[in-house]
Every structure is written in C-alpha cells, then in structure tokens.
C-alpha cells in the first residue's frame, strides 16, 4: 500500500485525527491511512495483512543472535457502530449494532452512513408533544430507532445498501487538565500509546524486534489479533486497551483513577513475570501506574494473543477512560504518554535471556 506520509504536530493532534475518522469493525479503511502514516514515521517497514491489520516493524538496534526475540504491541483501531439492515419507505434506514452499542445513547446522535459515498445522517426521536401518555418513561428500543439522511426511498436505494456501516460523527474536544473527549478513544488512545512508545524507542537501543500492530475487528471478537499473532509468532505480546476510569455513579472498585497512570493488568491472561517487570520498571524510572485485577480474559486482544499457536506470554496495559462505548469517551493525554514511556522502557530492558525465562513459569 502506498503511504501518504503526513506529519502531525503532536500526539494530541494524531489522536484527534484518529478519533474523528470512521472505522467501524470490518471497514476500518479511513483510519487505516492515518494510522499507517503515523506508524510509518517510526518503523522500518509497514504492511497491511489480508484482514486489514497494520503491522509495523521496528527492528532491533542491537543484534546478539541470528534472530532477535519478537515483541508484539497490539492496539485495535476498529470502533463500535451501526449497520444498515433495511431501507424503509420514505428512505429511513433501519439498523443493527456492531459491537457493544448502548441503544439508550443513540437518539440525537449524528452519524455518517458509509454508502457509495459518505452521507451524514441523524438518529431522531419522537418529540414529547406527540408521545402517548407515559411513553417517555420507557427506554427506546433499538427496533424503534432509525437513521434519517434526508433522502427519499428511491434516492436512498441508489446510494445505500443493506450492510453499509455507520459510524458516529463527533468532533474531538479538549477539556481541562489535559483531558480530551471524543468517539473511539477506545482504542485509538491505545494506538497513540504505541506511537509514543515507538518514538521513545527511536532514542534508545533495544535487542528485540518490535511488531507494532494496529488490529481490526476487536469489538466483534478480538479477531484481528487472532490472525495477526499467528502470522507474527511473537515471544511476548502486549495488548494496549482502555479500562474504566473513575466517574460519577460507578463504584471505585470497578474503576481506576483518571490521570493516575496506565493500569497494569494482573489476571489469568497475563504472564506474572511480565506483570512484575512492568511494575518494577514503573518504580525504577518513576512512571505513574495503577494495578488492575482482570479476572476474566475476555474482551481484549491480550486473550487472543495468549492462546495463539503454542501460547504467547502476554500482558495488558490499559488507559483509564470514562464513558466507554459512547461518543464522548474521555481520556487523559498524560496517561497515554506515560503508558508509551513505560512500554518503551520495558522493551529497552529485555533480551534473549529474559524471553527464555518466561518459558519457565
């Protein structure tokens, strides 16, 4: 693929572009160009596999053996969204969800329907004036919602077909205290962590080949990571995803602190030695971190990575995020940058012997 290299002022600007682009699972194309450009800046080689995963390779700068150990970094660049299931009379579009969309968050959203060309649409709601008594007390069901793109049925059928994907349309905004908000921070924030890590590594020496992978179809079942890990056959796999940050109405037991540094996961899908290394390195180089217990393996690329081929030592680093799976996800640029530093510091410290030791549990 031809890369149209683009320069971004800073990581916030990269995240803005990544966040605002549409890339619902299965049709991640528009984000792919931006992500490839950004990764290409720090990598020796960038390729896209048959699935759409972007695999950027940064080779070891110190080579001690014929074949350097391989570390895979994975952040998914697909997003949740909608899919057109039927074009109704008068041109209204019925839809179903792709990934974990909460129907309660849909009325009033602006969307982009990726038809033969992109169409801006809105998800309307029945005005209070014409509702029957008590109707406002009920939750609106998905089946009752539709997208209005303003076209007649005949016109709509010319440009839109069943199966066309729909992404949310939302401007990236900056809040106070280095917080940013927008759609698809899950997991474009993770992608920016990888970019930051690669940038840090360009100023350090490392003995491992780094495969930075922007994966697809995570939101529908960690599918991109499944096949890309098979192809890369890494010795270590690190998934970078988002986790729930403190927000009103949610127990502190279920969240981590916004701006408190990235969350290092411990649980059955994390190799205990990798976990310990991340904690030790955070302390050593003074990078803020939090520890998160993740008892169930489902839901992140780490699980797909762990059970590939003969098994891969895996870790999970998460960015605190508020309002996950809405179009106003909030993350802290500080957490993103610190996570990138942590991963770079880890990669710079490991060697062949470290990788061998992971095999004795």
């Amino acid at each position: 693929m031809e890369l149209r290299r683009r320069d971004f002022m800073d990581f916030k600007e990269v995240l803005k572009h990544l966040s605002e682009a549409g890339g619902v699972s299965g049709q991640e194309g528009p984000v792919r160009y931006i992500a490839s450009d950004a990764l290409g800046k720090y990598a020796d080689d960038v390729r896209v596999d048959t699935f759409g995963n972007i695999v950027a390779l940064k080779r070891a700068t110190i080579q001690r053996t014929n074949e350097s150990p391989r570390v895979m970094l994975a952040a998914h660049y697909d997003e949740i969204g909608l899919i057109v299931t039927k074009i109704e009379e008068r041109g209204f579009l019925r839809f179903s969800t792709v990934g974990g969309v909460d129907p309660r968050t849909l009325p009033g959203q602006e969307v982009v329907v990726q038809g033969r060309e992109p169409f801006v649409g809105i998800i309307g709601a029945k005005p209070p004036h014409v509702q029957s008594p008590g109707e406002s007390k009920n939750v609106i069901k998905l089946e009752e919602l539709f997208i209005d793109i303003g076209l007649s049925e005949d016109e709509a059928k010319k440009f839109i077909k069943v199966g066309d994907l729909v992404n949310f349309k939302r401007d990236f905004v900056e809040l106070s205290d280095n917080m940013v908000a927008g759609k698809s921070m899950d997991d474009r924030a993770g992608l920016v962590v990888i970019l930051k890590a690669l940038k840090e590594l360009s100023m350090l020496n490392h003995q491992v080949d780094v495969y930075a992978v922007a994966t697809v179809q995570e939101e529908v079942g960690v599918r991109g990571a499944t096949v890309s890990t098979y192809g890369i056959t890494p010795d270590i796999g690190i998934a970078i995803d988002v986790t729930h940050g403190h927000m009103e109405g949610v127990s502190k037991r279920d969240t981590v602190q916004m701006g408190g540094g990235s969350a290092i996961s411990i649980g059955p899908h994390v190799h205990p030695k990798l976990f310990q290394s991340f904690v030790d390195i955070s302390r050593e180089v003074n990078i803020p971190y939090q520890i998160e217990a993740s008892p169930t393996p489902a839901g992140t690329d780490a699980f797909a990575i762990q059970i590939t081929r003969e098994g891969v030592a895996s870790a999970l680093i998460s960015i605190p995020l508020r309002y996950m799976h809405t179009s106003v996800e909030v993350a802290s640029m500080d957490d993103i940058k610190e996570a990138g530093r942590l991963i770079a510091a880890f990669i710079a410290r490991i060697d062949q012997q470290y990788v061998e030791e992971l095999k004795c549990f």
Partner: protein
C-alpha cells in the same frame, strides 16, 4: 436435486454422528471429483483440481452436514429418558416431536406437568421410547446416544418443509454444484463439515489443514418475511443470499463484492444478508492461520432449528448457480495474499 435434498434431509446426522450423511454425499459425488478423503474430525473433503497446470487459487467451500439433536444423559427406573441438547434446541419446539436414534429406535418428547409453560426447560422434559422399565429401555438406548428429529420432507408447491434443511439444503447446493461446475481455474476443496452446530468445529480443523486462499461457506439463513418478524431484508423466494455479516464473521468485502458482481453479471437474483444471531463455518475459516478471506452464500430458510424448516426450491437453484459461476471465475486476486 429435490431427491438429493429429500435423502439428505430425512437422514439421521446430529453433530458428531454425520456418518450416514457422509455416505450419501460420497455416493452422489463419486465420479465428479478427483479425490475424496475424510479427516479425524469426520469432515468429508472432496477435491476438484484446476483445469490445467497451476491453479489460480485454492478455494474451500464448506457446507456442514450435522444437525441439531438430543443426547441421552439419564434413563430412569420407568424407562423414561432424560436428555441434553446438541446445538440450539428449543424446549417449546420439542414438545410432542418424534425423534429417532441411530439404531432406528423412535421416541416422542414430552414434559413434566408444569404450571407456567413459559418456564419450560429441557431438564423438565424426557423422551418416551415406549419402554416398560429401565432394563428394557437400556437394551435399546444407552447414555450418550444421540437422537435427531424424525420427519419426512414435504413439498408444498415449490417450497420444501422438513427437518435439517439447516444445513442439508447447503449440502445439496454443494453436491449439485460439484456435478455441474466442471473444470475451473481453481483447485476447489469441497468440505462437508462436521460439528458446526456445536461451535463451527469441523470447519476449523479442515481450514487449518487445507490452508485455502479463499473460503466460501454455504448455509441457511433466517428471513424477515413472516408475520411480525424482526427486521431483516431477506425473503423466502427472494433469491440466494450473500452474507454481509453474522455473529461469527464479517465477510471479507472483496469476496462479498465478487459474489455480488457475479450474481449481477449472470442475472442471478440475490439478497444481502445480515444475520444478527447465529454463525456459520466462515466464522472459523476466516480466523484460521493468518486469516483467510471468506464469504458466505446462504439459502433463506424459515423456522430454523425446528422440524419444519422451510426453503424455496428456486432459492436453492439460484444458490447453486451463484456458487458454480463463482468457482468458474479465477480467484487469483486472493492467491498468496
């Protein structure tokens, strides 16, 4: 084709017990393929080599042979048989059904008295094979035996009603395609898979072994054309269905577009399908190894997982037509990618 479908539909073959279906298919396709083999999972793999020299691509076509069923878990003192499900079996649909075991023993399914029928679960149900007591029941059936629905296929006009249209309709499409397709530019591996209904299992190992460039599953899909049905733009009799996505797979856009182009170029009526629940063999195939671009050709079917699944003859004809034309075109764009 109607006769092939009748044989396939009426024959016993719950997941893991596909041997009779295998035999019927082997007999039907012998002479039309270059190789036939079985693997350890019970998949039947029939290969049609490319017309000359090097194949443009290796294409795997998958149609699952297995059907949903019941498995015996316990036989009580009075000879009543308790069971669990193989695949997605509804307790409500099972009431009063006749089921058949591999040895030909027939039973009927019923439930304990229950106040609120909406709370009916399979554990409150049993199979009655007419046995006097435990001892005589155990001469006929033992723990672990599997039963399937017992129903003849009926044609009502051009629509067939019967058990296991899911997925003997797909098997029949693949069988008829084998007979019709002739030499193609591709090496085509027709895989009649096992154990789809319990987690797309046969297709997973077959795809790993074959390592194709492209996968095409052939299966049934739901319709949205019955009274008060959930929104779905697929109609019985509306043509073959080209899958966009289901719970197991987002079909590769290049494969999907290729199928659409071929249908349009040949005037084959087709519908685009989004199945919100359920999956198919492409779900396993596309995640195999480094990822295999996959698509699905579906036969629209009403009342899936009941003993009265209904298909339309012309939807099947159109599915055969689409699969045949697709295989006759070179799939080079995917080879070695």
């Amino acid at each position: 084709m109607k006769e092939v479908l009748r044989k396939l539909s009426e024959t016993y073959g719950p997941s893991g017990h596909e041997y009779r279906i295998r035999e019927i298919i082997k007999e039907e396709i012998s002479g039309f393929v270059d190789e036939i083999r079985e693997d350890t999972m019970g998949n039947l793999i029939a290969v049609k080599r490319a017309s000359r020299g090097k194949a443009e691509a290796k294409v795997m076509v998958a149609a699952h042979m297995d059907e949903i069923g019941l498995i015996v878990t316990h036989i009580d003192d009075n000879g009543f048989i308790r069971f669990s499900n193989i695949g997605g079996v509804s307790p409500f649909i099972s009431i009063g059904q006749r089921v058949i075991f591999s040895n030909g023993a027939i039973g009927t399914v019923y439930h304990e008295p229950i106040e609120d029928i909406s709370k009916l679960k399979l554990e409150n149900m049993y199979i009655d094979i007419g046995a006097q007591d435990k001892e005589s029941a155990m001469k006929i059936v033992k723990i672990g035996d599997a039963a399937g629905f017992h129903r003849p296929l009926e044609w009502v006009g051009e629509r067939g009603i019967g058990k296991s249209m899911d997925n003997r309709a797909g098997c029949a499409v693949a069988v008829e395609t084998i007979k019709k397709v002739g030499r193609t530019p591709n090496d085509v591996y027709f895989v009649f898979t096992s154990q789809e209904e319990v987690g797309l299992r046969g297709a997973r190992t077959a795809a790993y072994g074959i390592a194709p460039d492209v996968g095409i599953a052939v299966d049934v899909t739901s319709t949205g054309d019955t009274p008060e049905a959930k929104t779905m733009a697929v109609k019985l009799g509306g043509g073959t269905a080209i899958k966009v996505r289901d719970a197991s797979v987002i079909c590769n856009p290049l494969v999907r577009e290729r199928l659409i182009e071929i249908a349009e170029a040949n005037g084959i009526p087709y519908q685009l399908e989004i199945l919100e629940r359920g999956g198919t063999d492409a779900g396993s195939i596309h995640l195999t190894r480094e990822g295999i671009p996959s698509g699905v050709i579906s036969v629209p079917c009403r009342y899936i997982h009941s003993p009265s699944e209904m298909i339309d003859y012309y939807d099947m004809v159109n599915s055969i037509e689409l699969l045949t034309k697709a295989l006759q075109s070179p799939f080079k764009m995917f080879a070695g990618s």
